[in-house]
């Protein structure tokens, strides 16, 4: 059984609808732990040793955050800078994260259409997440496609429920084993779930 660590970064969690729904749904699952970094390191004084230990103790890392101005919130970037230490996570002898798997769970205000060459934001979400992808590559972590929830402001309660259910489904499948070959063909985990759903025709409720 894989152990999953959600590294959660949200500077205004109390006002978030989408991330609250996602996180509460996922956090209640067995084998899933959460590192709520804006709660634990409000002073940006990240406890590096503790975070490293958490990473070591888990097999799959999820970076869950809302996209702000095309990047993760500052503290998550800060977390990367501090925890992904040279000589530990990468570089000479830096092999402690080798073989782990990781993906991002990203919420955006803009719609999926706006994140396209003709859209307002011009680039796809995947493009904006390139730095994370490269960090994973640098550390020998297998980087999976992201799970994305677009247009979080316009989301209906129905859609919200659906997204949470999908997130839970990902967690449950990944706990048992990650079907990498199958997944890598899709641009996002959402697309993978759609195709899976078509064959399974069941959507688990929360």
């Amino acid at each position: 059984m894989n152990r999953i660590l959600i590294v959660f970064a949200h500077p205004r969690y109390e006002q978030s609808r989408m991330n609250r729904a996602l996180l509460t749904a996922a956090a209640s699952l067995e084998g899933v732990s959460v590192s709520d970094i804006y709660e634990e390191y409000a002073d940006f004084n990240v406890d590096v040793e503790r975070e490293k230990e958490r990473l070591i103790n888990h097999d799959i890392i999820v970076w869950q955050f809302p996209l702000y101005l095309y990047a993760p919130p500052a503290l998550l970037k800060h977390w990367f800078e501090l925890v992904m230490e040279f000589g530990w996570a990468y570089g000479k002898k830096g092999d402690k994260l080798r073989g782990k798997k990781a993906f991002s769970c990203v919420t955006t205000g803009g719609s999926s259409l706006s994140f396209s060459p003709s859209g307002h934001h011009r680039f796809s979400l995947r493009e904006y997440l390139r730095p994370l992808e490269q960090i994973a590559y640098l550390c020998g972590i297998e980087y999976l496609p992201p799970f994305t929830v677009y247009g979080s402001y316009q989301l209906t309660d129905e859609e919200l429920k659906r997204a949470s259910a999908q997130y839970v489904e990902i967690m449950q499948v990944f706990r048992l084993g990650v079907p990498e070959k199958e997944i890598m063909m899709f641009p996002s985990l959402n697309d993978w779930l759609e195709s899976r759903g078509a064959s399974n025709a069941t959507i688990r409720s929360v």
Binding site: D43, N45, V48, E85, F86, G87, K93, G94
Partner: protein
């Protein structure tokens, strides 16, 4: 019984050690404790000391002499300037009006006019030592009423000088008894001599003592300054008593002269340790000196005189309250606290006796009245504190009977001094209302005006906490500055209201350690964050980048809190107990040792790709 110096010292200390803690326990204040201790060991108690014990009287005299030196030192020019409006209005009014009214009463009662005048001038005095000590214990010094009282006391203290000098002029006969130098002179010359002596003390203070102290100070030996202070006090006292003038007056003057010099604080802190004990000694001797047999002889006469004297004093003090523009409840504090006849009156009455201005039986009567009035003040103050103050304060608020009314706020802040007020303001800025408990009526009144839910009351009393709504509150912020009181509050609140989250303010690690031993978790050292911030700024001023210094500061804070916890977990003695000085040093030492083993510093591995892996 053979009474040696040692035996007397033991007796006095024992009496103080028994009665003072008892009085404190009963919320009666230390002064009453000392007075009762005096009565208990005096001729009308178990009779261990009395008129046959002159050694004790010497002790007590030394107490008065040193105390008046300190009172003199308090008369520093800047303080006088700050209070000058009060002194010229309330101070002068109280003194002159009381002297006139009391004098008139005794004139009508058949005394001669010089005697009446002298009695009036003496009775008008209140007790600086008693009032200052009492106000300090009850935290009333910062009140408007406290300031006004201080001004009145200062006026009286200053007035002692001319009054003592003028008494021989009032006397029908000059000093005849005794073999003092001054008693050989006629009245007007005696006055001249007294003024001369005062002038001499003044001049020698200016031109001999201060240069002398500067010379001593240059030797850089602290104990020499203490010795110099004692030398000045004792020699002035000796000089004055050789002349036949009150030695206490002399040292008081010496204090006044030195108050303006740069040595004021030094001298004060040198004598300070003795002060409390000497003031205590003074009050013990007052207690021992109360001659109850006199009361038995003429109970009605003395009782009536006492009542009339105190009522006249009280009425005029209350009127003075208007002159000083005090509020109603402050007028009451002011009146009650100053209602006694003070220690200067002892001096004045004995001097008047020697001048034959009043007969010896009357001298004894007045001394009796003075002592009893001193004894009554703390009791009256207790009544005021318990019943009068809360009801008056609630008139401004919404409550009717008790000042503290039911309020269910999530947070109760006990103590709204510099620390608690910041917590309260911060919470308010973020929309969280807190119920505030404070024992300073002025502050409470101000806070209420500003819309805070503030109540006057002793937070260590469970009823007060309950009526402040502690049972509905989630959090108690224990922010009282006085550590003993704060610790008391924490212990009681924890026991009585287990649901409560207590956030405790402490001053230093040892206090934090004590609270940890009681199982407290949320402990805030008041200087920790500020000192670290200062350290961070030090690094910045030395050229470090601000963010690196800031990070180092944050790490240090975390490390320091953790170090104390580790130290606590690994302690040898699991029993909770009051730490000895040795243990405190040990704690300090272990903390420093840990610093040497692991020092959180700027140079960790963050943002650094030059380190070649971490060696384990």
């Amino acid at each position: 019984m053979q009474q040696s110096v040692l035996f007397n010292a033991i007796l006095l200390l024992a009496a103080a050690l028994i009665f003072v803690p008892l009085a404190k326990r009963l919320y009666l204040g230390s002064i009453l404790g000392y007075l009762v201790a005096g009565v208990a060991i005096g001729p009308y108690g178990i009779g261990l000391i009395g008129k046959e014990g002159p050694v004790l009287m010497h002790f007590a005299e030394l107490g008065i002499v040193l105390m008046l030196f300190l009172i003199g030192l308090e008369l520093e020019p800047t303080g006088l300037r700050r209070l000058r409006t009060f002194i010229f209005s309330a101070g002068l009014f109280q003194y002159i009006a009381t002297a006139a009214a009391v004098g008139l009463f005794f004139l009508l009662a058949g005394f001669s006019w010089p005697a009446s005048t002298a009695i009036g001038l003496a009775i008008s005095m209140s007790s600086t030592a008693l009032v200052l000590q009492m106000m300090k214990e009850k935290g009333l010094t910062r009140l408007q009423a406290g300031e006004a009282a201080l001004a009145v006391l200062l006026t009286q203290d200053i007035a002692v000088i001319p009054v003592l000098a003028l008494l021989p002029l009032l006397a029908m006969r000059t000093l005849e008894q005794g073999n003092w130098f001054i008693s050989t002179l006629p009245g007007w010359l005696q006055t001249m001599v007294i003024f001369g002596a005062i002038g001499l003390v003044w001049l020698s203070g200016r031109y001999v003592l201060v240069p002398f102290l500067r010379f001593i100070a240059r030797s850089n030996l602290r104990e020499l300054l203490t010795a110099a202070a004692l030398f000045i006090v004792l020699s002035t006292a000796f000089f004055m008593s050789e002349l036949g003038i009150s030695p206490a007056l002399g040292t008081f003057l010496a204090g006044v002269v030195l108050a303006g010099s740069e040595f004021r604080h030094q001298l004060e802190s040198d004598i300070e340790p003795f002060k409390g004990i000497l003031v205590g000694l003074f009050f013990i001797s007052v207690g021992a000196g109360i001659d109850f047999s006199r009361l038995a002889l003429l109970p009605w006469k003395i009782g009536a005189t006492f009542l009339i004297v105190v009522v006249i004093k009280g009425l005029i003090l209350y009127t003075t309250g208007y002159v000083a523009r005090l509020t109603k409840e402050e007028r009451i504090i002011f009146t009650v606290s100053l209602s006694q006849v003070g220690e200067f009156s002892f001096l004045l009455f004995t001097f008047m006796d020697r001048l034959s201005l009043i007969s010896s039986p009357w001298t004894d009567t007045f001394i009796f009245i003075t002592a009893v009035s001193m004894m009554l003040t703390p009791l009256l103050m207790l009544v005021v504190e318990r019943f009068v103050l809360p009801t008056f304060l609630s008139v401004e608020g919404e409550g009717k009977k008790s000042d503290v009314v039911y309020q269910s706020n999530p947070v109760v802040i006990a103590g709204f001094g510099p620390f608690g007020s910041i917590v309260g303001r911060f919470l308010r800025a973020n929309g969280v209302e807190a119920t505030i408990l404070d024992n300073n009526p002025d502050r409470v009144a101000l806070l209420r005006k500003m819309g805070f839910k503030a109540y006057f009351g002793d937070a260590t009393r469970l009823e007060v906490l309950k009526s402040a709504g502690i049972e509905e509150a989630k959090i108690l912020v224990a922010a009282i500055g006085e550590w003993a009181i704060n610790a008391d509050l924490i212990e009681k609140a924890k026991k009585a209201f287990p649901h409560l989250v207590i956030l405790a303010r402490v001053a230093h690690p040892v206090q934090a350690y004590e609270l940890m031993a009681q199982g407290e978790e949320h402990i805030y050292r008041e200087t920790l964050d500020t000192s670290v911030r200062m350290g961070v700024d030090c690094l910045v001023k030395l050229g470090y980048r601000r963010y690196s210094a800031y990070r180092a500061g944050q790490k240090f804070l975390k490390y320091d809190e953790e170090a104390l916890k580790v130290l606590f977990r690994t302690r040898e003695d699991e029993e909770a107990h009051i730490l000895t000085a040795r243990e405190m040093i040990e704690i300090q030492e272990k903390l420093l040792m840990r610093d040497r083993l692991y020092n959180p510093s700027l140079y960790d591995h963050a943002w650094d790709s030059t380190v070649r892996g971490r060696d384990e």
